[in-house]
Subunit: 372 residues, 2 copies
């Protein structure tokens, strides 16, 4: 059986619908992956995630390997069992966090010596370790170890970094422990199209189960991101899933689906929820604002999630103002439901040949509120 | 139909099983009421509460009247609708909080002028206001406005306070807005038996739907509390529910059921949960401790709650150590399930004529761990 099957393509764009088979079930694409950094999607239970429509979630190798450590997760039978989520899990490699969250001591061909952001202890992470840790976590999709260069970035730095990243990705494929865990390669190269093209060529030559854009959605103008993706996405084999890491807003996702992206992850729906921002069909609303004090309508009148069926804006605002944890949870649930519902609608629209209309209508209503 | 029917009594003690009819359904007694101070039982949703076995919850008049204010709750159709809980709710009168949490400006026969602990604003709460607020909240059981004197307390202070409290309780019955909301009287009198007896006599003369012990479980030795209850509980009419406010530990509850108490409330299961303490059949365990780092067994091997069926001690410890909110929720759920399950077992034991054996066996196992 193929790992990934494209079941429909959009007539007006590169948007496509597919099914990605993993050891813990099928993921319908385009898919959004809620982020469960420390073995939990913040404030939510696995049952909440299922009910909100999640088919796959993301776990972070860097965080989990430092705390609680892979030993206990392996002893529990893997991350699925440890956290009680029996659906597919994608784990990143830890590369992004090592380069962005720690004090780096030494980078070599074998990996990175760094200090833990938790206790300052000396640690080492490279392609071999990233593959072993992800094998211990037992994720369904593993990501290659890479350096995600920041934006802006000098061409020379991006070029040299890319050479090392490609070396690491080659090692990752060699060090892969368990072939039932899919392995995705990651293109880097900052915003330089020639580096992107070269890196994708090398990755395809190595051969992975899927491919990801790394190093985008890191502060560059959105148009630049779209331009880089549009320029290089066709270099990936059509029969492999394409994952844009760490992106993005609802509008970003719609635009990138249109460019041929199949998978997304972002902390935005859950992090914004904890800050009191609700995503709704008419745009974002800051629920703590005084204007909602007496508003007995649901967060989003057209939403059918449990939060919107049971609770009012006034109640959720009260929970936030009174520092009640239930508020964080109700809003996180709603925001994920909003994102995951949007993905479902995207899939239906692409399959039904109406993606262009869907996107236009969605953004018209969504932006109507944000940009009056 | 009677409000309260005793369906079984223990042959060896004053323990009894009953059914209390309210506007939002029947409560089986002895009952434990989870505390939902600010319109939410901290970290839990109404669905969680139902699944954990809650039949009635408690709301706090003082907190809710200050934030979000009764106006919005009344506009929402009452506290049930506002917070999404369709079962019975008991509300306290705010008296306890006014005397313990605020700077009091002036106490008169009409009530108390005080400063809000939230914004320092001047407020007034007395029997009339307490009845009106509880009418606006629409609770199933309202409590009379009283002064809960601290422990220790001089006899003269307790005596004078009691006179005013009884006056206020009389006013509460007069000012009661809606007779479909039950109204409970509260006995005060600190640990002085003559004051307790006198106060109960006066309350019964006024006549309430149920009666509560206030001013106990406030720091006095447990034996003193048991002694006061034992000395005066029979003065309450047998066909009315008896509620011991703000109590207590599992052992307190077992002892007070034995003395004839029907209803309890306490923040202990939820507050202790947020501090990382789990109630289990073999006693309390501090889940953050290092000894649980690699412990893949459930919090309580004999517990069938969702937390114990899905998650290990090691996982919950990890959530606490990583400051993940889900940990607070999983432990709050378990602790309430433990308390509510204990109440269910108490009811079965009393009905089955085995309460004495149940209590003995329960405490033997429960204290075996705490007091080796």
């Amino acid at each position: 059986m193929s790992i990934f099957v494209v079941t429909a393509t959009d007539k007006d764009s590169k948007a496509r619908v597919g099914r990605l088979a993993t050891a813990h079930g099928v993921v319908n694409t385009p898919a959004f992956m809620p982020v469960g950094t420390q073995g939990t999607v913040k404030t939510l239970s696995p049952r909440d995630l299922r009910e909100a429509g999640a088919e796959i979630i993301l776990g972070n190798t860097y965080h989990l390997s430092l705390r609680p450590g892979t030993e206990i997760i392996r002893a529990a039978g893997g991350l699925h069992r440890f956290m009680g989520w029996d659906g597919p899990i994608l784990t990143d490699s830890g590369g992004y966090q090592v380069f962005s969250m720690t004090e780096i001591r030494k980078v070599t061909e074998l990996g990175v010596m760094f200090q833990s952001h938790i206790d300052g202890s000396k640690r080492f992470l490279g392609p071999k370790e990233a593959m072993q840790i992800q094998a211990d976590l037992g994720s369904d999709i593993m990501m290659c170890f890479d350096e995600c260069v920041p934006y802006p970035c000098e061409y020379d730095y991006a070029c040299n970094s890319l050479a090392l990243t490609l070396q690491w990705e080659k090692f990752c494929k060699e060090y892969r422990v368990n072939t039932s865990q899919l392995l995705f390669g990651i293109t880097q190269g900052s915003v330089f199209k020639d580096l992107r093209r070269r890196s994708i060529g090398s990755l395809v030559e190595i051969g992975f189960d899927g491919y990801a854009f790394g190093g985008l959605s890191v502060g560059e103008p959105e148009e630049v991101m779209y331009d880089v993706i549009g320029d290089s996405v066709d270099l990936f084999p059509a029969d492999r899933p394409r994952y844009l890491m760490g992106c993005g807003t609802p509008e970003n996702i719609l635009n990138c689906v249109e460019l041929g992206i199949d998978m997304f992850d972002c902390v935005m729906p859950t992090r914004n929820a904890r800050n009191g921002t609700a995503f709704t069909s008419v745009g974002k609303i800051p629920i703590k604002n005084g204007e909602f004090k007496n508003d007995l309508s649901p967060l989003d009148p057209v939403c059918s999630c449990d939060t919107c069926r049971q609770y009012s804006r006034a109640y959720i605002r009260h929970l936030f103002n009174a520092n009640e944890i239930l508020g964080l949870r109700l809003l996180s649930y709603h925001n994920l439901y909003f994102y995951l519902g949007m993905m479902k609608n995207i899939r239906s629209a692409v399959a039904g040949g109406t993606f262009r209309e869907f996107k236009r209508d969605f953004l018209k209503v969504y932006n109507g509120n944000n940009q009056p």
